[in-house]
């Protein structure tokens, strides 16, 4: 095994354990790992952005391929930095206006088509199936019916122009049940996702506890516990 892999494993285990120490209580080891994470993430993002955008998308095409028109977006980008200089901060509005115009023009028609028109189309589906053997009501039709009832009742629940009394109240109430079921499903999926993260982490911690990695997990876990005990003793007021 290469030295880089071994160092990487020890660093990964150490930082994971420092972060997990928060489960005991907030402590300086957790804060240390948190700050390292923030610093490394921002540093990584800046480096990637510099090379992938500034160098690959701007500098190289301009210098090697002669795409001098890229000066215009570069200039617009630089105008955004004028926000840091109050007397000329208004210049950044030109860039923001350009961005807003382009983004709205691109996004609005596409979003309406994808998430409104197509979804409405998906809601309006046949509630019965007409086949050779006559008219049938299948499970697919039941699903279509449930989707229709769900959409209509939830829309009623969010309809605030009239008071929710009488039949409107009853339909809105059905909407609440549909919303509750969807929140429950979303929460169930959230639990599953969080557990998956824990499984992924523990899986690697188990892997790194092997002799091939110098029992990294076991050694660093012992060190972590000792560190927490030491920190607890320091915290205790002297009697």
């Amino acid at each position: 095994m290469s030295t880089e892999t071994l160092i990487g494993a020890w660093v990964a285990v150490g930082l994971s354990l420092l972060i997990y120490s928060f489960l005991y209580k907030d402590n300086p080891f957790f804060k240390l790992a948190e700050h390292i994470f923030v610093g490394v993430s921002i540093g990584y993002l800046l480096t990637i952005t510099y090379y992938q955008v500034m160098v690959n998308k701007l500098y190289l095409p301009m210098m090697q391929q002669g795409k001098w028109w890229l000066v215009i977006p570069a200039f617009l980008g630089m105008l955004m930095l004028s926000r840091f200089i109050p007397p000329i901060a208004w210049l950044s509005r030109i860039s923001f206006a350009f961005l807003l115009g382009i983004s709205s023009g691109l996004a609005i028609p596409r979003q309406i088509s994808s998430f409104i028109l197509q979804q409405v189309q998906g809601t309006i589906k046949p509630l019965i199936t007409v086949g050779d053997s006559g008219v049938m009501f299948t499970f697919a039709n039941l699903n279509s019916l449930l989707i229709l009832i769900g959409v209509v009742s939830v829309l009623f629940y969010f309809f605030f122009s009239i008071e929710h009394t009488g039949p409107v109240r009853r339909v809105a109430r059905i909407g609440i049940y549909f919303l509750m079921i969807s929140f429950g499903a979303a929460f169930g999926y959230t639990v599953m996702a969080r557990m998956s993260l824990l499984i992924g982490r523990l899986d690697e911690l188990v892997l790194y506890s092997s002799a091939a990695y110098g029992h990294a997990t076991l050694v660093l876990l012992a060190a972590m516990i000792l560190g927490l005990v030491w920190w607890e003793r320091r915290q205790r007021p002297e009697s």
Partner: protein, 278 residues
């Protein structure tokens, strides 16, 4: 009994953390082999990949970063294994800056396993900055979006990309997405305009958001979280990280369900007992 219920309600959260940790760790060390059933949305992606003729280009977008690795990396490995088994040509990209390293590692690992050559059987183009603009740019002029691959090789020198001018030349796109940009970006700015078929894989937390797209056929299948990855591994007949993790997933779910039911029961039962006493 009353005292037990009261103790249950006052359980220190650290004991719950410990129980969840044990419920996760023990099945990883001693697998239980809980059954896994393949869901239709996962089968649809599998069937679509099966239906593609050998040599078809498939674009796999690794739209995740290390935070989504436990769920999406096993998915990527399973999809790549299947694609390479079917002799499909894989084009890897990522819309997330921190996704490049993971994508490169996944492609290199599976290519090594199945003796596939870079440039001939697969290519990794790296990070495409600009989110939605990146997809639009790929649709308009693929070579302008990616003048070189991740390793710096000129696109014109890569045999796999000889006939790729736009997203229209790619029949199937799969986005493994941890958030935005991801499946929605590929659908809204890609599929709608350039007409390729789109499948998706996502973290469990974002899966409910994509079921409406699945219902309307806007995406042709969905792998949701670690479970989706495990189902796909089952379909292609490999025992990967996802299947190994499903026992731990089930065990923790059992524990959480038990705690929710027991604590709710304790809450109502202690309430009644207290009321009766008073």
């Amino acid at each position: 009994m009353h005292r037990f219920f009261l103790r249950l309600l006052r359980l220190d959260r650290r004991i719950i953390f410990l129980l969840v940790g044990l419920a996760t760790l023990l099945p990883l060390l001693f697998p239980l082999g809980f059954p896994i059933r393949v869901s239709p949305e996962v089968k649809k992606i599998y069937d679509h990949v099966e239906s593609l003729p050998a040599g078809t280009l498939v674009l796999l977008s690794f739209d995740f970063e290390p935070g989504g690795k436990p769920e999406l990396y096993p998915m990527a490995i399973a999809l790549l294994r299947h694609a390479f088994q079917r002799n499909l040509k894989v084009l890897g990209v990522t819309l997330w800056p921190a996704g490049a390293g993971l994508a490169e590692a996944a492609l290199a690992q599976v290519a090594r396993e199945q003796s596939k050559a870079r440039g001939r059987d697969f290519v990794f183009l790296g990070y495409a900055p600009g989110e939605a603009n990146a997809v639009i740019s790929m649709g308009q002029d693929f070579r302008a979006a990616f003048p070189t691959d991740y390793a710096g090789t000129e696109i014109a020198e890569i045999p796999l990309l000889m006939n790729v001018r736009s997203l229209r030349d790619i029949p199937y796109v799969l986005s493994l997405s941890v958030g935005f940009p991801g499946i929605e970006t590929w659908y809204v700015y890609g599929k709608e305009k350039y007409g390729f078929e789109l499948g998706g894989g996502c973290t469990a937390v974002s899966a409910p958001r994509f079921y409406p797209l699945l219902n309307t056929g806007q995406i042709n299948g969905l792998l949701g979280g670690l479970r989706g990855a495990a189902e796909y591994e089952l379909l292609i007949g490999t025992q990967g990280k996802a299947i190994a993790g499903m026992d731990a997933q089930s065990a923790t779910h059992f524990l959480i369900i038990f705690l929710i039911v027991a604590c709710n029961a304790a809450y109502f039962l202690t309430g009644r007992t207290t009321a009766r006493r008073s």
